[in-house]
């Protein structure tokens, strides 16, 4: 039956459609707020801005902490006091803050924890463990020594491993199960890490490997992968090492570390053999798991920071006019 369309019906129909559309649009856009119309005093503005900022920052934090069911990454970073230490740790922490379930183990080369690192870690917002282990004098680099003379950070990394083993022995039940899946990574405080790297290493069964940029006198060093297995390493420097890989180029599963209590870094090892001294206790080249698109992408760079020139500072200090030592740099 044909319906006769009267003007009244047309209007009613139009009204309904408009109403539905308006409701739809409003629902899509959220609530309207009238408060912007009022003139706000400066103080109110500032407190409102601060509140905004806090809300936003908290929101990021909650988003990140929601991911609790992924394996933990324990990052061991040896560090030592020098001018750029705070800067290096600061920008490193900015990267780590983006990685869920990351536990930072900072090991200072010092007889006791320094206030600088203590305060810094407390304010960083990260989950951390603050350790310290002094390198014995004969193994330590002296002032004029070139950086390649003695391997650095071996004692501190061993201290980190010791802490992990202690924690592993004390854990039980669900905690112990979580540790089975965790991964350990050795991150120096002056390198640069992309966020993708941590997702690549998170699921490591034994030892996973990937290319490292700007190391070994080349643009990048990398494991060579054939048929999904690592067959050799593409490096220009000492390719005959048992494992010609940089500290930043591999991650070890915590399970492997806990089941091999004798695996540690040899502080007396020749330069470049530090990594091999540790890995040879744990795996053979066959066991390596290649990551980063079968080791074709560079996700970590072995950057080094220049030592800042302090000529004028030294000159001033001789005159007793040095900058305020209370100001932390």
């Amino acid at each position: 039956m044909r319906m006769r369309l009267r003007l009244k019906t047309v209007f009613v129909l139009y009204f309904m459609v408009s109403l539905l559309g308006l409701i739809y649009a409003l629902m899509q856009l959220g609530q309207r707020c009238d408060c912007r119309g009022h003139a706000m005093s400066k103080d109110q503005q500032i407190s409102q801005l601060r509140g905004e900022l806090q809300k936003l920052q908290e929101h990021i934090k909650t988003e990140l902490s929601k991911k609790t069911d992924v394996p933990k990454i324990y990052v061991i970073t040896p560090t030592y006091a020098r001018l750029v230490q705070k800067a290096e740790l600061t920008r490193l922490s900015h990267t780590f803050l983006h990685v869920p379930q990351l536990h930072w183990i900072v090991v200072e080369d010092a007889p006791q924890p320094t206030p600088l690192v203590t305060d810094f870690l407390a304010a960083s917002g990260l989950t951390y463990a603050h350790l310290h282990k002094l390198t014995p004098k004969d193994r330590k680099l002296q002032e004029g020594d070139p950086s390649w003379l003695k391997p650095r950070g071996a004692e501190q990394r061993n201290e980190g491993l010791r802490w992990l083993r202690e924690m592993g022995a004390a854990a039980e039940g669900k905690e112990a199960a979580a540790l089975e899946e965790a991964v350990v990574y050795f991150a120096d405080d002056d390198n640069t890490y992309s966020l993708q790297l941590f997702e690549e290493m998170r699921y490591t069964y034994r030892v996973s490997v990937w290319p490292v940029g700007l190391v070994g006198g080349m643009k990048f060093e990398r494991p060579v992968v054939e048929d999904g297995k690592v067959v050799r390493f593409h490096t220009g420097w000492h390719p005959n090492r048992p494992f010609p890989i940089d500290m930043a180029g591999f991650a070890v599963s915590l399970r492997l570390i806990l089941t091999n209590p004798q695996a540690r870094f040899d502080g007396d090892a020749q330069m470049g053999f530090l990594e091999s001294s540790f890995l040879q206790h744990l795996v053979t080249m066959d066991d390596f798991e290649p990551k980063a698109d079968l080791c074709t992408k560079v996700l970590v760079w072995h950057t080094r920071t220049e030592k800042p020139k302090m000529k004028r500072e030294d000159a001033l200090q001789k005159q007793g006019l040095g900058s305020d030592p209370d100001v932390e740099v």
Binding site: V84, G213, H302, T303
Partner: protein, 358 residues
């Protein structure tokens, strides 16, 4: 006939609404909705959306044009007038409102201008800089490459970070580039790139707009704390603070008197400069930049260490400076420099696969 009239009437009623809804969905609403979902407690007024849509469409229109040759308009900086033969500017920008870092309508935007150039550590530097910036709310990164064309490395990097960015480029003519890589204080590096960014800001924002903004010059190898960005957000004209590792000292800082006013500079290297401060030690309110459209960094004839003064003296006097970082007693930015990597083992022909990006 009534039947046709009925159909016509129904079509006339329904058409405007379907049009509105489809157009709305096609344009920027989708990312805005994503933002709403994440920051659902933030308030979005219906009035603000159309403004954003117009900005976004303006950017998309810019994207369509290929290149724009700089013809050196008279009202613009005198620096470019005589050199338009040397410069081919591609002012194709991407102004993207993508995912959070959190975006708020209330906080002033911090426009960070970073000049960059291709070298082995470039990707690493930009990566860790991006990791820092991702924590800062309402940050807009203006990255200006010193190159003839926008490089794919930087384009890809910017897209993957998810930051709010604008990608520009301008090549420094050969006679102004540093010879080799040695620091020659007579030739300021990054000047043309910073000037281009200033020009972009002036072209994009007009003085009448209510968008609050702060302009900061951030080099790609320095280290910035997150606190620094919150300190500079409240800048009214130009704010200053100490910078570590510059001028051969642990840190250089402005001298602040008991009244909270800057009266001098605590530096050893030429403390009598009008503004003895490093590029990383100050931030300027966007309104001031727009209010003084002639203010640019001086390109030629600038003595070492006077580059910052060449811009600041056209904007403020010493009296107007606002000291931050607890009256200039805290270090929130470090002028770190990254070592040039030793690539001896690459040899003449290159040992590693050149297709792998580092």
């Amino acid at each position: 006939m009534p039947k046709r009239r009925d159909i016509l009437a129904i079509v006339l009623i329904v058409l405007p609404w379907t049009l509105l809804i489809t157009v709305w969905h096609q344009s920027a609403i989708a990312p805005l909705l994503a933002i709403r979902k994440v920051c659902h407690h933030l308030v979005k007024e219906i009035l603000i959306i159309p403004e954003r849509l117009t900005i976004h469409r303006q950017r998309l229109a810019d994207d369509g044009t290929e290149t724009r040759h700089d013809t050196g308009p008279a009202t613009d900086s005198k620096e470019y007038c005589s050199q338009d033969k040397d410069i081919v500017e591609v002012v194709r920008t991407e102004y993207v409102y993508t995912r959070p870092p959190p975006w708020s309508d209330v906080l002033p935007t911090i426009h960070v201008i970073t000049p960059t150039y291709s070298r082995p550590v470039q990707k690493a530097e930009l990566t860790r800089l991006a990791n820092t910036f991702l924590h800062v709310p309402n940050l807009h990164w203006i990255l200006v490459e010193d190159s003839q064309r926008r490089t794919p490395l930087v384009t890809r990097l910017l897209r993957e970070t998810g930051l709010n960015y604008t990608h520009l480029n301008v090549e420094t003519p050969r006679n102004y580039k540093l010879r080799g890589d040695m620091r020659d204080p007579r030739i300021p590096r990054g000047t043309m790139q910073r000037n281009l960014a200033l020009r972009w800001l002036r072209e994009t924002f007009n003085s009448n707009s209510s968008q609050a903004g702060i302009v900061y010059f951030a080099d790609d190898d320095n280290t910035y704390s997150l606190e620094l960005f919150e300190e500079m957000r409240s800048t009214r004209k130009v704010s200053v603070w100490p910078v570590a590792f510059v001028g051969g000292l642990r840190y250089e800082s402005p001298k602040v008197n008991a009244a909270g006013k800057v009266y001098g500079w605590k530096t050893v290297f030429d403390p009598h400069r009008p503004f003895a401060i490093d590029m990383a030690g100050f931030a300027i309110n966007l309104r001031l930049i727009l209010f003084k459209p002639q203010a640019y960094f001086k390109l030629r004839g600038v003595k070492g260490g006077y580059q910052e003064s060449s811009l600041l003296r056209e904007l403020v006097t010493l009296n107007d400076l606002e000291p931050k970082a607890a009256n200039c007693t805290k270090i929130l930015v470090w002028h770190t420099r990254t070592e040039k990597p030793v690539l001896v083992n690459e040899g003449k022909k290159g040992f590693t696969d050149p297709n792998v990006e580092i």
